[in-house]
């Protein structure tokens, strides 16, 4: 367009500077300018002629008349705006905004055209004088120096600002505030269109669009800040009115509604920079100023779990800095109470199940609530986690260790064990997967590990696992949650099972190859790796292996020695079991029993009765084991005590084979009684945990000191705490004790010139 225009000019006249009569040229130009700024009809040709007039004036000979043109134009525009002001002032109060806005629309549009008509002046004469952007930004020049020439568009807007807005701003503000107030209350005062109000407000921004910085200054000072003040005042009154009228529940509802309406109103009328300010003003007046009232209502909302109220409270409070703290802490306390109610003071048979499923119930309920009501807000999720952790790690008696790790391990055991009542495989898998939720909250993960390992050992050795796949999957879940080191031993136990199965196959072909040796029974063995299993490394009692088993033991040892190098085997007869067939009764019975039980019964091959002393000497069992196993046989009615109660077994007590034994089933097991976990064992587990913790801490301290060489006491404690966090929460005094031990063992020493510093002894 400009290009074509320029060509046109070339045709019409020479571009060479020439003498120009300013007065006549300006007279013509002025008429056109008037037409342009009032959006009057300006024919094409006239526009073109005036365009070249501007050019001629700017390049006039002998001296350019640009400056003069500028001054005259300025004077003309100034007069024009002043006349418009008179027009605005002449209109009635209710028409004022409408008139102002329509004149502004006309003027600003006109200025846009005029700016183009003067484009030669703008680009050739004014740009040159203008400071560079950089100068402006770094403030070396004062921008508003009066002598400076402005581009025509800017000049026009500036004149509007000076001669229209300045004198009128009080009226404009008053009318604008009035109009918006009416919009709020739903009345209508002067019936202005919202586009008018929006347009008037926007004119305060547009008028400064040429400015390089602080373009919103006028808008902010003339309109925004008094508007915010008025808004604040309005909502202050609104808030106290609402509070008098309604409950907090309803109040929150209404406030949210008001806030959303005001948001929409902002979008309807204001510049985008104000949206946030208005919203925060509303929140300040209606929420922050009445925080106490809302907070006072929080306990009731939380306790009664009023979801809608909680959702509203959350929506309102989250925008106030620190506003949520009270709600969050009530929420946490509530979950904690609910949790404790669900899992503390359990009694009955299946405490473990009650504990885990109760805990999971509470967790999933409030997880859901965090999700649905509190939009998964991080504050609330961590409150949930903290509450659950404090329930899981709650101790009734601070002297005793927390029962949760043990209960969780028992629950896992009940799911993984063969049982008649267990649900479908997928149900069990789901339940096992959920166990991890509780597991993650446990502080004393090492206690869980200990119990889990013991129960796993029993399940594996006594062949009570429901499914090896489920066992492996669970170990992998624990590994994922707690790391390789945590499950290392569990994995090794698990692999021992498959290694043993290979070994059994090899052993039977070994027997085949050695001239078809018969052992006289169906033999299989688990060879466990010492150190990986939570078992002693030897049998806890002397034991005379029954003659019937001797060959198996001998053959297998030979085979094992051939297979491996540098290994020794310890037979754990107290853990083994077998099937014994009873041929002396009315019908034959096949009974699965422990090896010790088997050995005792086998003693009755050639005699029907013997004294306890004789039986004990023959089996070589120690007193504890003897008592326990003989009792189990008496309780199962396979053996009978002659003339005794069966409560105490004196050396002279006579035991005899029960020749009248009768059972509906012909194939069954009597191992349960002796395999049951005893209170003693539980205590042992706990005390072995204490030992393990000391060793673990010592190893941790050595590792830290080895890499850091010299450390201050407090730094060392912190390091140890953070490294053992995943496993258990050690007490400071235990760590100190371990440090002392290590100093005694000469792994560490105190540095000579400091009282609280240790150094590593290489």
């Amino acid at each position: 367009m400009t290009h074509i225009l320029n060509i046109d000019i070339c045709y019409r006249m020479s571009l060479k500077p020439k003498r120009v009569d300013f007065v006549t040229t300006w007279a013509d130009l002025k008429e056109t300018v008037k037409g342009v700024v009032t959006l009057g009809n300006v024919p094409h040709t006239v526009w073109h002629n005036r365009f070249s007039d501007v050019y001629s004036l700017c390049v006039a000979y002998p001296e350019p008349l640009a400056e003069k043109l500028y001054q005259e134009t300025k004077k003309f525009l100034e007069d024009h705006v002043k006349s418009l002001l008179i027009q605005v002032n002449g209109s009635s109060e209710e028409q004022l905004l409408t008139v102002y806005y329509s004149l502004w629309q006309q003027y600003s549009q006109g200025m846009d055209y005029l700016h183009r008509l003067y484009s030669y002046l703008n680009t050739q004469h004014i740009k040159k004088q203008k400071a560079t952007d950089a100068e402006l930004l770094y403030g070396t020049l004062s921008y508003e120096s009066p002598e400076q020439m402005k581009e025509i568009g800017e000049l026009g807007l500036d004149l509007w600002k000076k001669h229209m807005i300045e004198p009128l701003k009080g009226d404009l503000l008053r009318l604008l505030l009035g109009a918006i107030h009416c919009d709020r209350t739903g009345q209508s005062l002067y019936n202005e269109k919202s586009s008018t109000i929006q347009g008037v407000i926007q004119s305060l921004v547009s008028v400064e669009e040429y400015k390089k910085k602080n373009t919103l200054e006028l808008y902010e000072t003339v309109f925004e800040s008094p508007f915010l003040e008025a808004t604040g005042e309005y909502y202050r009154q609104e808030a106290s009115r609402l509070l008098q009228e309604c409950t907090i529940s309803l109040y929150m509802e209404k406030v949210l509604q008001r806030r959303d309406e005001e948001d929409l109103r902002s979008r309807k009328f204001l510049h985008p920079s104000s949206y946030g300010k208005v919203r925060s003003e509303c929140e300040q007046r209606m929420v922050a100023d009445h925080l106490v009232a809302i907070h006072n209502e929080c306990p009731a909302m939380v306790q009664q779990e009023l979801q809608q109220d909680l959702r509203n409270a959350f929506a309102l409070l989250k925008s106030i800095p620190g506003g949520l703290t009270v709600l969050v802490s009530h929420f946490m306390e509530h979950i904690k109470q609910q949790g404790l109610r669900a899992v503390a003071n359990l009694s009955g048979e299946n405490i473990a199940t009650q504990f885990v499923e109760g805990m999971l119930g509470v967790h999933s309920k409030y997880k859901e609530m965090t999700n649905v009501v509190f939009a998964n807000d991080q504050l609330f999720s961590s409150a949930l986690d903290m509450a659950c952790a404090s329930v899981v790690n709650h101790r009734l008696n601070t002297k005793q260790p927390c029962k949760s790790p043990e209960l969780l391990a028992k629950y896992c055991d009940s799911l993984l064990k063969k049982s008649t009542k267990g649900g479908s495989d997928t149900e069990v898998e789901d339940k096992l997967a959920q166990c991890i939720t509780v597991f993650k909250y446990i502080d004393d993960k090492d206690i869980f590990q200990k119990f889990y390992a013991r129960m796993l050992a029993k399940r594996l050795i006594h062949q009570q696992s429901q499914s090896m796949d489920a066992e492996e999957a669970m170990i992998n879940r624990l590994k994922q949650a707690c790391g390789y080191e945590f499950t290392n031993k569990l994995h090794r136990m698990f692999t021992d099972m498959s290694v043993s199965s290979d070994l059994n196959n090899k052993f039977s072909s070994y027997l085949q190859n050695k001239d078809r040796i018969e052992l006289g029974l169906n033999f299989s063995i688990y060879v466990l790796q010492a150190g990986a299993w939570p078992l002693g490394q030897s049998c806890p009692t002397d034991f005379a292996v029954p003659q019937e088993l001797e060959k198996s033991v001998q053959r297998f040892e030979d085979f094992y020695r051939e297979q491996f190098n540098g290994r020794k085997l310890a037979w754990l007869h107290h853990l083994s079991q077998g099937e014994l067939k009873l041929n002396y009764l009315k019908k034959p019975y096949i009974i699965t029993m422990q090896t010790f039980q088997m050995a005792m019964l086998l003693m009755f091959e050639n005699t029907d009765s013997m004294t306890c002393r004789e039986l004990m000497e023959a089996t070589k069992l120690n007193s504890d084991h003897f008592q326990k196993y003989v009792q189990s046989l008496v309780e199962s009615k396979l053996l009978a005590v002659s003339g005794g109660t069966g409560e105490v077994f004196e050396p002279s007590t006579v035991i005899s084979l029960n020749m009248d034994y009768n059972n509906k089933r012909t194939k069954f097991r009597i191992t349960a009684a002796v395999q049951k976990e005893t209170v003693q064992e539980t205590e042992q587990t706990h005390s072995s945990i204490d030992e393990d913790r000391k060793l673990y801490l010592q190893a941790t301290i050595v590792r830290i000191m080895k890499s850091r060489k010299i450390l201050r006491h407090n730094v060392l404690i912190q390091e140890v705490l953070s490294q053992s966090k995943a496993r258990f929460a050690p007490s400071i005094s235990l760590i100190k004790k371990c440090v002392e031990t290590l100093i005694d063992k000469q792994y560490l020493e105190r540095t000579p010139n400091s009282t609280d510093e240790y150094s590593y002894v290489a």
């Binding site: 080191e485 078992l535 030979d558 310890a570 099937e579 067939k581 086998l602």
Partner: protein, 115 residues
């Protein structure tokens, strides 16, 4: 009874046969036995003097490198002629610097390697 297997082989066969014959008359007969045994390295000291970890566990380096179970199984024990034992991994590194037993300072020569 099984001190000398070769010598007793024929005799055993007889016993087995006798068992079969006598089975019906015996009061008890053993059908099945699931034995449990635990193996460990046949060592004098259960802790490797080089890495100070139990010889039944993988050596410190193998543990730190977090290898999987298969690889840790390779972390076996080695015995010197002096009858001192260490992790094989630990000893391999040790002899590169000093071809003596870390415990008794005798010249190191391998007696056997665990399997």
């Amino acid at each position: 009874m099984a001190d000398d297997i070769d010598m007793e082989k024929p005799a055993e066969k007889v016993t087995v046969n006798n068992d079969c014959v006598m089975k019906s008359e015996k009061m008890f007969s053993l059908k099945r036995w699931n034995a449990v045994a635990m193996w460990s390295w046949d060592v004098e000291c259960e802790i490797c003097a080089i890495c100070r970890v139990q010889v039944m566990d993988a050596c410190l380096r193998c543990q730190a490198e977090n290898r999987n179970d298969k690889e840790q199984e390779e972390c076996v024990v080695i015995w010197g002629e002096c009858n001192h034992s260490f992790h094989n991994c630990c000893m391999k590194l040790w002899v590169k610097q000093n071809n003596r037993c870390p415990l008794c300072q005798q010249e190191w020569s391998v007696q056997r390697i665990g399997k």
